[in-house]
């Protein structure tokens, strides 16, 4: 995956500097949150099924 982590610019001497985080990370943050939610929903579903099978 060819993703930028940082945003770069140049100072007035032409030297490369970091300007901030790459905005390509925004969908990463969003979809990571979604992934955690989905993972928890799956875990929750399995836990409930297991609890029901256990007769408890």
């Amino acid at each position: 995956m060819n993703m930028n982590i940082l945003r770069y610019g140049h100072d007035s001497f032409g030297e490369r500097v970091v300007n901030g985080a790459s905005w390509e990370l925004l969908p990463v943050a969003f979809w990571t949150g979604v992934a955690v939610i989905v993972a928890h929903l799956v875990y929750r579903a399995f836990s409930r099924r297991r609890a029901r099978k256990g007769g408890g």
């Binding site: 610019g9 100072d11 007035s12 970091v18 901030g20 969003f30 949150g33 955690v36 939610i37």
Partner: protein, 197 residues
């Protein structure tokens, strides 16, 4: 203070106000900063720094209240009981970790945001972008951006857990202030809750 009937006061009115105010301001901050990034253009900058200053004030008040009117250890200590998987006091381990994550995101955003005001320009502060080297400004911006990205992640997860049916009692408590002892029984040690632990 715990009460020896079915309902326990979980969050006082002032604390609930802090929470919802912080939530609203964080939402404004993220909307103003991230919508332009995805191509929705509007005059965002003034709203953003004004909201940032408001958040700073609210957070400072929260810290003062937590330090002097409450027991910070209730939220901040990840003590042996929690890590060993035993039942929690007032806050469960996941709740404490969520608070810790928000603390990091918000404090980093606030500190870097305040420092960046000198570069970006606000009416009440003489603008001097040369106060720091460009590399330092870039680093501060990087931290500010990462705090924003962490906040995006945390909002999703926090709202999700807030609206889960089995967690909804906590959401109700953040609205109404009280929680039923029965709702706490499953994950909390009521004796610790009554002690304020």
């Amino acid at each position: 203070m715990a009460q020896h009937n079915d309902r326990i006061l979980r969050h006082a009115g002032i604390d609930r106000l802090f929470h919802w105010l912080m939530a609203a301001i964080m939402t404004v901050l993220l909307v103003t900063s991230l919508l332009p990034v995805i191509g929705v253009h509007f005059a965002w900058y003034t709203i953003h720094w004004v909201a940032g200053l408001l958040l700073t004030a609210v957070i400072l008040l929260h810290i003062v209240r937590a330090l002097f009117w409450q027991r910070p250890a209730t939220m901040l200590t990840l003590n042996g009981d929690d890590l060993a998987g035993r039942r929690a006091g007032k806050y469960t381990l996941p709740q404490k970790l969520m608070h810790l994550a928000w603390t990091v995101a918000v404090l980093v955003a606030i500190v870097t945001g305040l420092l960046l005001l000198r570069k970006a320009g606000v009416p009440f502060l003489a603008r001097d972008p040369y106060a720091r080297p460009l590399a330092i400004w870039g680093f501060l911006t990087l931290l500010h951006d990462l705090a924003a990205l962490l906040s995006v992640f945390l909002i999703l997860v926090h709202v999700y857990f807030g609206i889960l049916p089995e967690k909804r009692a906590y959401l109700r408590a953040m609205v109404r202030g009280w929680i039923a002892r029965g709702d706490l029984k499953a994950e909390h040690d009521l004796e610790r809750v009554d002690r304020g632990d």
